[in-house]
């Protein structure tokens, strides 16, 4: 199944996207592909503002009806803003993963160059789909 992968964003292989804003901050969220795999989101644990994070460090948790998943920082930096709307409306990530469903903003001196472009991420997402046999985190469901 194909999902939206905007060409103007950069991606981590752990399914986060990153966008540099005009003010130099980097906005981070999870991809459309990731939200689709997770299913309906019901809870988001946001990082604390001011927290220093390293690349690939888990700093938020998204919980779907199915399972909890870590959201990793795509870059070294400091969390300067979190999307407070997600506390009451975690479904924003399902509905608009690249817009209203953003998760946190980073202040960073790193550039996005080390991250994948849309074409490279598309290959990862497609390989994921091939491997996706639908097995659950907890196979004893029902």
């Amino acid at each position: 199944m194909s999902h939206i992968i905007p060409a103007d964003l950069r991606y981590a292989e752990t399914h986060e996207w990153a966008r540099t804003q005009d003010d130099g901050l980097v906005t981070v969220g999870i991809t459309d592909h990731a939200q689709h795999l997770l299913g309906d989101l019901v809870f988001v644990e946001l990082p604390e503002i001011g927290r220093v994070v390293s690349v690939a460090e888990g700093c938020a948790v998204v919980e779907s009806v199915k399972a909890a998943s870590d959201v990793y920082s795509p870059l070294d930096g400091v969390i300067v803003e979190v999307n407070e709307l997600l506390a009451d409306n975690p479904e924003l990530i399902n509905q608009d993963p690249y817009g209203e469903g953003w998760i946190f903003r980073l202040k960073t001196v790193s550039t996005l160059d080390a991250l994948m472009d849309a074409t490279a991420y598309e290959a990862i997402a497609a390989a994921d789909d091939d491997e996706d046999n639908g097995s659950l985190t907890d196979p004893r469901l029902v």
Binding site: V65, K66, G134, L136, P139, L141, V142
Partner: protein
């Protein structure tokens, strides 16, 4: 090679996300598990539960004697068309499976068991049935559809013959009717009104199509799990298994102690456990903080670890994390559950978490 129900092609056509469950490819959801859950709580949902194991005991007289020995609940409490929920125990009182047994009068008894436990159930039952010279046969020629929700019966009106519908409407909860090739029971796994329909596999796709046309929404195993949990219903393999007895699983009410001279498998072990004092209780937990509960999380009373959650989820109806848990009998009304290293406040409750208006 995963097994497919007679509705597999229907699931594919509806774009279901399929999962392996007990060797079967079954729909997890058809797009949104939350919407399916809400559909069942507010209108009507349709579940393909053809993976369930159906076993018939056609000869009622020897079957009654056998089942009174085999099952912890007592089929002597049944009468024709009545159903009974029970555990199947081993000699140590551990739960091999949970099941529903239907009294079919002169046609004998019907058992509906879990799919994931099929092989061990049948290999447990076979030698005992032989000892009791009681015939039985698995009904893998049947499919099973569940129609659940406050509008289940009104939607069925568009599908069932008027005479059959009237009989279904007149039947009570935990009763069944039989008409032609249809076996229709007022049972389910959602806490809502509704039916479970057993019918020949080749007739199932047509009934499925008719129910969808009548406005019943297809629902997957995901919604089935959150619905049953809200209704406080146990899941085999999570909330109980062969290492736990009904007495520590919130299922003491399913054990028929009377009459005292009825011998059933596991009785002696349960009596010993009861005499020694039951060390644990089975409770519901509602998270007061934001978050989601899952199985195998540690429950704390003060600073003491007192037990584990056995099933957990986010309750779409309550908009809170809920769980079933097995904890020390001394556990107080307020406790905490450890979620990713944090101990979140929870309230202990007696399930169900959600009950339908009566």
């Amino acid at each position: 090679m995963a097994k497919h129900t007679p509705l597999y092609v229907r699931h594919l056509a509806l774009g279901a996300r399929l999962v392996d469950f007990g060797g079967w490819d079954l729909p997890l959801h058809y797009g949104s598990q939350l919407k399916e859950h809400t559909q069942v709580r507010t209108a009507a949902g349709l579940f393909d539960v053809s993976h369930m194991t159906i076993v018939d005991f056609p000869d009622p007289r020897p079957a009654r004697v056998l089942l009174r020995y085999l099952l912890a609940n007592d089929v002597a409490r049944l009468y024709p068309d009545k159903a009974l929920y029970t555990c199947l125990l081993n000699e140590t009182g551990g739960i091999i499976d949970d099941l529903i047994v239907y009294d079919r009068g002169a046609t004998g008894y019907r058992l509906v068991l879990n799919a994931a436990t099929r092989v061990k159930d049948l290999s447990w039952i076979a030698p005992i049935a032989e000892r009791f010279s009681t015939a039985w046969n698995e009904r893998d020629d049947l499919a099973m559809l569940a129609v659940q929700g406050p509008e289940a019966l009104t939607r069925l009106a568009a599908v069932l013959d008027a005479g059959i519908l009237a009989r279904v409407q007149a039947s009570q909860r935990f009763h069944a009717i039989e008409a032609g090739n249809l076996f229709i029971a007022r049972t389910g796994y959602t806490g809502e009104d509704g039916v479970e329909i057993m019918l020949p596999a080749d007739a199932a796709p047509t009934l499925w199509d008719q129910l969808l046309a009548a406005g019943v929404a297809p629902c997957g195993l995901g919604a089935r799990d959150t619905l049953r949990l809200e209704a406080g219903m146990s899941l085999y393999g999570s909330d109980m298994d062969e290492t736990t007895t009904p007495l520590v699983s919130g299922l003491g009410w399913t054990v028929a102690w009377q009459p005292p001279d009825r011998e059933f498998i596991g009785r002696a072990a349960l009596e010993r456990q009861r005499a020694a004092g039951i060390p644990q209780i089975f409770i519901g937990l509602v998270l007061e903080d934001r978050g989601v509960l899952r199985s195998h999380q540690t429950v704390y009373d003060g600073d003491a670890a007192v037990g584990l959650t056995t099933s957990g989820a986010f309750s779409p109806t309550l908009n809170r994390g809920i769980a079933l848990a097995r904890v020390a009998a001394t556990t107080g009304e307020r406790c905490r559950v450890e979620v990713r290293g944090k101990r979140l406040a929870a309230l202990t409750v007696k399930p169900p978490f959600v009950s339908r208006p009566r």
